[in-house]
């Protein structure tokens, strides 16, 4: 059980959401501190979007408690809505409005007067950065422009907490970098608490003060990226084999001096150690002695993806690559 802190922007206790017989979220306890960027990671279908939809009052929990900005999201949803902004998966915009009209409507629904809306639009100019296109129909915008407008719409009323559900999915690397730069600026310049889900671990690693990893509806790990990576050891030797890993290979490597742990997933071995440089040749020799075919052997420090592999049993980066390949082949059809 996570301790509740009055300084927390988001707190959930025993959060559960069921869809018929399926338990999509299963007892999640979260604490997101005010002013931090919290990265919420998980494989597809792990429950990320369901959690975020409950936090922003779009979905009622089956059980458990949610406090956002100090208010109960179930019994005081209007108080929560005044204090949050959200940009959900796929830019949620109306193609038949211009950018300016959309932001004006958004501002009006938050009770802002015309002058306030104009001032906020001016404030957000750098972020929007779509120039004359503000007067054009949104249907004519590129994917990156839509994402930036979506972000501006989520910020028009100066929320205390910003929820971003995979804000860069489907964008080209340049647009992705721009959005992530802006997210960093929103946090540092305005002090906005940001709850972020993403498939790009390197971005979560660079941006997030803390991350949580959800797997099969449960929070599997939580901490600062550094702490989580440290939990995997200071060095990792990653070995990709020609075939699947046999248990005796794992046992033999575990017997080597200076090895902290050995994890095996399909044809990949991960050897954790405090001194990778000294151990790498020993690992190579042992595998050679055992007649195990090695396709690739790498020595590196742990990444969030290694943490992800440890707690979920699969790499997020691989899923992401497969998904991108799928999208690409779909586009070619």
């Amino acid at each position: 059980m996570t301790e509740t802190n009055t300084n927390d922007a988001i707190v959930t206790r025993g959060l559960v959401r069921e869809f018929g017989a399926v338990r999509a979220v299963d007892g999640v306890d979260l604490s997101v501190h005010r002013g931090e960027i919290y990265g919420f990671l998980g494989p597809n279908g792990a429950g990320k979007t369901t959690v975020i939809r409950m936090l922003i009052t779009l979905l009622a929990p089956t059980a458990g408690a949610i406090t956002v900005a100090g208010y109960d999201a179930v019994s005081q949803p209007d108080q929560v809505r005044l204090r949050i902004g959200a940009a959900l998966q796929e830019a949620a915009l109306d193609d038949k409005q211009t950018g300016r009209e959309l932001l004006t409507l958004q501002g009006r629904l938050y009770g802002l007067r015309g002058r306030e809306i104009a001032a906020r639009m001016a404030d957000l100019t750098d972020l929007i950065d779509i120039g004359d296109a503000m007067g054009r129909l949104i249907g004519t915008y590129s994917g990156g422009m839509k994402r930036r407008l979506d972000l501006a719409a989520a910020l028009i009323h100066q929320p205390e907490i910003l929820f971003l559900d995979e804000p860069t999915t489907g964008l080209d690397p340049i647009s992705r970098n721009r959005i992530f730069e802006e997210i960093g600026k929103i946090n540092t310049d305005l002090g906005v608490t940001i709850f972020l889900t993403t498939q790009y671990l390197e971005e979560a690693d660079a941006l997030a003060h803390r991350v949580g990893i959800i797997d099969r509806g449960r929070l599997a790990a939580q901490g600062t990226p550094e702490d989580l990576k440290h939990s995997r050891g200071s060095d990792l030797i990653i070995v990709k084999l020609d075939g699947n890993v046999f248990p005796q290979v794992v046992a033999s490597l575990e017997a080597l001096a200076a090895v902290d742990a050995v994890d095996a997933h399909d044809s990949e071995l991960t050897v954790s150690t405090s001194n990778g440089a000294a151990l790498v040749s020993g690992v190579a020799l042992k595998l050679n002695e055992m007649g195990v075919g090695v396709r690739e052997l790498t020595l590196r420090t742990p990444t969030l993806d290694d943490v992800f592999l440890q707690v979920t049993g699969s790499r997020l980066q691989r899923e992401e690559t497969a998904q991108l390949e799928g999208e690409a082949s779909g586009n070619n059809d």
Binding site: L58, D95, G111, A119
Partner: protein, 268 residues
């Protein structure tokens, strides 16, 4: 309240806008979209003009063997109901649901009922506007109003009220299903309402079963009220029945629309 300093030093305070400001904000967006989508309005104008021309052309000589019946005046309210029935923004609700824009609206502090009333307000503007060319067509073919200018206004308002009330059905389907095909099926309701009534001939000339069915069809009373404004003058009882029939349908259609909106906006 949510107050965070802006990068440019501007500080704003998010608050509830208020019921009427919410309605006007939603309606303004809908009217704007309507003006950009004028091509969708053309069928709503073409169908009543076509039906009026064909029906009057085919049946006028035959129908006017009934003593005292001015068939063009008899058919004008039918043309107006054809023009105003089913003209709604329900498809755009589906588009909003599918694109996620509806979620964006719902996570603002907007009053949920205003999300429907704003659309209905925009619909009402269009519906009343659609009655104008039909009435002009009536003037061109020689249909005058016994009740004068006020009667014309009452005629437009009653038709507008019916169009608005009927729209509760497609909105209810849109909120419930979020599916374009399902919303289009609401057009099926159009047939029993508009055909199982005094569409072509007065009730006295109908077969007994259809006449009995027409007794239970609220559109019969709305048509009677509209026709009375053209040919009979101010018939308060007939007008009252027309309004009551419309409001009766409204209790059902708007009840369904509000119930499904609530379900869509607060996903249990």
């Amino acid at each position: 309240m949510a107050v965070v300093s802006g990068a440019g030093g501007v500080t704003v305070r998010a608050r509830k806008a208020g019921f009427f400001r919410d309605i006007f904000a939603v309606a303004r967006r809908a009217v704007r979209a309507m003006l950009r989508d004028l091509e969708t309005v053309i069928p709503a104008l073409f169908i009543p003009v076509f039906m009026f021309a064909v029906t009057v052309g085919a049946l006028q000589d035959f129908a006017e063997t009934i003593p005292g019946l001015d068939y063009r005046a008899f058919q004008l309210p039918v043309a107006v109901l054809f023009a105003v029935t089913g003209v709604s923004r329900a498809i755009t609700v589906v588009t909003d649901i599918q694109s996620g824009y509806f979620d964006r609206l719902v996570i603002t502090p907007v009053n949920r009922v205003a999300l429907l009333l704003g659309l209905l307000m925009a619909d009402f503007v269009l519906i009343v506007a659609l009655t104008i060319p039909v009435i002009i067509m009536g003037f061109i073919v020689g249909v005058g109003f016994e009740t004068g200018l006020l009667g014309i206004l009452a005629f437009m308002l009653l038709a507008g009220l019916w169009g608005l009330i009927f729209n509760g059905f497609p909105y209810a389907i849109a909120f419930k299903t979020g599916n374009v095909a399902a919303v289009n099926l609401s057009f099926l309701l159009f047939f029993p309402f508009l055909f199982m009534t005094t569409l072509f001939i007065p009730q006295e000339q109908m077969t007994p079963w259809l006449s009995t069915t027409a007794d239970f069809n609220p559109v019969t009373y709305i048509l009677a009220a509209e026709r009375s404004l053209i040919t009979e003058g101010w018939q308060w009882v007939v007008l009252r029945d027309g309004v009551i029939a419309t409001l009766g349908v409204g209790v059902v259609s708007m009840g369904m629309a509000l119930y499904t909106l609530r379900g869509r906006a607060t996903r249990k």
